[in-house]
């Protein structure tokens, strides 16, 4: 039934996948280029079918705190926004991380800084992968490159968030949010019952009869010794995630003389440039990190051993390139950046030009 191949925008795919996953609540505020998430949810009216709550909050700050409240009760809750809106949410995201609450946050990035443009960008890489708000924390950050991945990462994001009790983020860009392509939506699964939630989330504020110790969900711990213990527990979780959850895709890296590292939709534009280069006999490979945190340091280090140079392509001034440098850890390796900013998306020939530069320049 749901094996049907459909054509839709990445933003629409997120909304449909959320309903099918059995998400309990979505709280959001419209902003281009991700407004179709909320619009699709409202058009689908899942409150009549699965009982999912869809609420347009009065602001992004309200949305993320509604997510906090829902997550504290063990519900599968999410929000989505675009760059300026995600900045407004940072306090709430830090609280979610500190309270060890699972939730899904979708950022369909647009050109910044400030209000910037409504066009695609990847300039929130630092914000997403380094936590974003205050304090020592990480989000699990997933970077989709297709409408299919937009759909699939809803389930993956929630599964990982619940497994590790940490918020996860889909870090998309305006290209993958706005473009339409084919997608097969996941099989529907029912929303969890109250009893299933109580069993899966023994930490949650689910309400209880006399006898059970009250569950307190808070990020506040005024005793520094205890707060350090909390931090140590968070860090243990992050080390576990780093060991278990690194995801990436490698194309043509086996025989590559040059390597491109790119994430999200831009990786696909790079792939086109790589196809063109290979037609001319130039062996170029690509690593596309799927988890931006945890970052595929080992895979990139391994792939870099046989190449003459690395080109990092991003829709920003050079952010992921810092992680690539950390991964390669070789001062003699030629690592160059090519990026466009402010909402401009490069076409394949610009990437070809950047590739030619790295091949000819010392």
């Amino acid at each position: 039934m749901s094996k049907e191949v459909r054509l839709m925008k990445g933003n629409e795919a997120i909304a449909h996948a959320a309903i099918l996953y059995g998400v309990d609540g979505y709280f959001g505020y419209p902003i281009t280029p991700q407004s179709e998430v909320l619009e699709t949810l409202e058009a689908e009216m899942p409150w009549n079918t699965t009982g999912m709550v869809v609420l347009q909050a009065e602001s992004e700050v309200a949305s993320i705190n509604m997510v906090y409240g829902g997550a504290a009760t063990g519900k599968a809750v999410m929000t989505s926004s675009s760059s300026p809106g995600i900045s407004l949410m940072q306090e709430g995201i830090s609280y979610l991380a500190a309270s060890e609450l699972p939730a899904l946050i979708v950022n369909v990035m647009r050109g910044g800084p400030g209000l910037g443009t409504i066009h695609p960008s990847q300039s929130d890489y630092f914000q997403a992968t380094r936590g974003g708000g205050h304090g020592d924390y990480h989000l699990i950050v997933l970077a989709p490159a297709s409408v299919q991945e937009m759909a699939d990462f809803v389930a993956l994001g929630f599964d990982l968030a619940f497994k590790y009790r940490t918020p996860s983020m889909i870090l998309a860009d305006g290209v993958v949010g706005q473009m339409m392509e084919k997608v097969v939506l996941p099989e529907p699964r029912p929303r969890r019952t109250e009893q299933q939630i109580a069993e899966q989330c023994p930490w949650a504020a689910t309400g209880h009869s006399a006898g059970r110790k009250p569950n307190v969900v808070t990020s506040l711990e005024l005793d520094s010794a205890l707060m350090e213990k909390n931090n140590e527990r968070f860090q243990e979780t992050y080390r576990l995630i780093e060991r278990n959850e690194v995801r990436y895709e490698a194309y043509h890296t086996d025989d590559a003389e040059y390597l491109i590292v790119a994430f999200g939709s831009i990786a696909r534009i790079c792939l086109k440039a790589i196809e063109d280069a290979r037609e001319k006999g130039v062996k170029v490979g690509l690593i596309r990190p799927i988890t931006l945190w945890p970052f595929p340091y080992d895979a990139i280090r391994e792939a870099s051993k046989h190449v003459k140079g690395i080109l990092v392509v991003e829709l920003n001034a050079g952010q992921m390139i810092e992680d690539v440098r950390l991964a390669v850890a070789d001062p003699n390796m030629k690592i160059r950046h090519f990026g466009r900013m402010g909402g401009i998306v490069p076409n394949p020939s610009e990437i070809t030009t950047a590739l030619n530069l790295i091949m000819t320049n010392e």
Binding site: L7, I118, Q178, M180, N347, P348
Partner: protein
């Protein structure tokens, strides 16, 4: 088979919808397809364009530099995209409001008087369907049947009474190309 198409004009001319119907037609034909819009914040006015890639193979990039076919609906878009048509490619344009005609000699240039035809047909909303008809006649990547099936998917059911008028415009557009 791979066809990279750009449709470009003013917002409100039905540029994005035309690409969408084409994309759905490709879906009906089991082709791979990407539809990538580019437009400003305006609901109407401003420039709008959409890149549609159709292929029988998986599509890497939804964004390309050069095109097999360009459908051009205003002067700005003609200035911007005339040079982006691959040698041997096709440029379809509506001469209405165009003051500098296309100059290329290495591509097939097809003027389609879509605006005049909509006036003649008395249905301004059929503008983009006339051009879509011209497109699938000049560069047959999808069939008329698939376009009509695609249109049925794109058009909300409450507008399905408009399907015959759209079909008429599509067929009229096909007649405008030799």
């Amino acid at each position: 088979m791979k066809q990279e198409i750009i449709i470009a004009g003013f917002g409100g001319q039905g540029v994005l919808s035309m690409g969408k119907i084409l994309a759905y037609a490709a879906l009906m034909d089991n082709l791979e397809v990407t539809w990538m819009p580019s437009y400003g914040p305006e609901q109407r006015g401003g420039t709008a364009n959409v890149t549609v890639v159709l292929s029988d193979q998986p599509i890497s990039s939804p964004i390309v530099d050069t095109f097999d076919v360009a459908v051009i609906l205003n002067q700005q878009s003609l200035d911007k995209f005339e040079h982006a048509v691959r040698p041997g490619g096709i440029l379809i344009f509506d001469p209405y409001g165009i003051h500098r005609m296309p100059q290329r000699t290495d591509i097939r240039i097809i003027p389609v008087k879509a605006m005049d035809t909509t006036i003649e047909m008395g249905n301004a909303k059929s503008y983009n369907m006339i051009l879509l008809g011209a497109l699938i006649k000049a560069a047959p990547s999808v069939s008329v049947d698939d376009v009509l099936k695609g249109l049925k998917k794109v058009l909300p059911e409450r507008h399905h009474h408009l399907l015959p008028a759209n079909e008429k415009a599509l067929l009229r557009g096909m007649e405008l190309v030799d």
